[in-house]
Amino acid sequence: MKSLQIAATGMAAQQMRVDVISNNIANMSTAAYRPRVAEFSDLVYQQYLTPGTITSQLGTVVPAGIQVGTGVKASTVSVEITQGSMRQSGGELDLAIDGNGFFEVQLPDGETVFTRDGKLNRSQDGQIVTMDGYPLADGITIPDDANRISISRDGQVTAYFDNTETGQSIGVISLVSFVNEKGLEAVGDNLFRLTEASGDANRQVAGTNGLGTIRQGFIEDSSVDVVKEISDLIEAQRGYELNSKVITASDEMLAATTRLR
């Protein structure tokens, strides 16, 4: 009774889809979160009769053969590359990327990771750090006596002081792009790590080489579309039920067989 196992693979796939959807919905308010989507593909086919098998000396062949499928598997859970909407927050160190790119963040162990979440802060020694206190890899330190910071669209950071009108450039926040953004490994806390599949990190000035621009005073919202997630959830739930009906039918057919004697 292979249909039992086939339906079980179907239920497992729908279950996984619900897991992915629930994670998306849970992150509907996470800054710069991008929804994940589960993709499925069919499993190997069992060949009862291979098409093209010769059926006579005249060279006639089996036209279609008998190939019976064995179910479904998850092929990938990929990140949808979408731009979240820009929410004005007014924060001096709230940065949103309008377009392609990531900020580069230095972890305490020296590894660099990447994020689009631009809710940044000033640390006790003046460094620009993420919410978790990890400094940006650009290594910008804001002078203690600066009363205002301005960040241009191409990432130029300028500090303004009480006694002068002209600002002083204190560094540049550059952005990083990847050939295959979907290949980045999510490590939690809105951070991503480079992998074989993503390609090397390509560090450039914002606004050049296909990179987006930096918007000061904005936060990129989560790009989860709740309506779409809910409709996918309904689809996944009904799919799960359909597969469970196949299990019931297979079970009843088995019962009919055992009733014979």
């Binding site: 009774m1 796939a13 993709e39 069919d42 036209p63 499928g69 949808e80 295959n180 196949v246 014979l260």
Partner: protein
């Protein structure tokens, strides 16, 4: 033994396989680019000796799939492609060239257009497609032409299969008789073709299979009772 038992058994065996086909369709209701499977039954005759008419049996004879267009779902993904109408994308896999209608593609670390499991997508000249990494916007036109920032890069190949298609895993097909490029293909960027399984039809088929199986079991049951009765009647003489 009674011929009716053999004839029914061949039918029951076929029904079990058909249920397997239905189960596979239902399991793949959300598989991108999946095409509904169909089982074909045919009668075959078995000789039962010189003096008696031959016995007709039913068995699974063939297998086909429904290539009708699945619903196109808009995803907005830059490399999500759907073919409207006829044709397949060609992939270069370690096992040889494969065809697919599942167009959720992405870029490799070196900028080649690939499937999620790393097979190269081929252009109309059967070569892998290379996308420049610094391109800000990639657009794929209706005829499959790929352009990066307004510069034409090539054309996504859409192929027609010559001869029979054979199913492979991962919603792929093998073309026995080779492929030929389609001139006026219709490719849609930012969308993927969903599975063309109709849950209602599959449920109806499943119920039909289940009832037919139960009917077959009843035939076997009655045949069993009939022969038991026959043995006891004849044995009592």
């Amino acid at each position: 033994m009674s011929n009716s038992i053999y004839a029914t058994l061949s039918r029951q065996d076929g029904l079990l396989k058909e249920l397997q086909v239905v189960a596979n369709n239902i399991a793949n209701t959300n598989t991108t680019g999946y095409k509904t499977d169909r089982a074909i039954f045919a009668e075959y005759l078995v000789s039962t000796g010189d003096q008696t008419p031959s016995l007709s049996m039913g068995a699974l004879a063939g297998h086909t799939f429904d290539l009708t267009q699945g619903t196109v779902k808009f995803t907005g993904g830059q490399f999500d492609l759907a073919i409207q109408g006829e044709g397949f994308f060609a992939l270069q896999t370690p096992a040889g060239e494969r065809l697919t209608r599942a167009g959720a593609f992405q870029l490799s670390a070196t900028g080649e257009l690939i499937t999620p499991d790393g097979a190269n997508v081929l252009d109309s000249g059967n070569t892998p497609i290379q996308i420049p990494p610094e391109a800000a916007s990639i657009s794929i036109a209706g005829d499959g032409s790929i352009s990066a920032d307004g510069e034409l890069l090539g054309q996504i190949g859409v192929f027609r299969a010559n001869g029979q298609l054979q199913r492979d895993t991962d919603t792929r097909f093998t073309a026995e008789g080779g492929t030929e490029a389609i001139e006026n293909a219709n490719v849609l960027q930012g969308a993927v073709e969903q599975s063309n399984v109709s849950p209602v039809l599959e449920m109806a088929r499943m119920i039909k299979v289940q009832r037919a199986y139960e009917a077959g079991q009843n035939v076997l049951e009655q045949e069993h009772q009939r022969s038991t009765q026959y043995i006891s009647t004849v044995g009592n003489r």
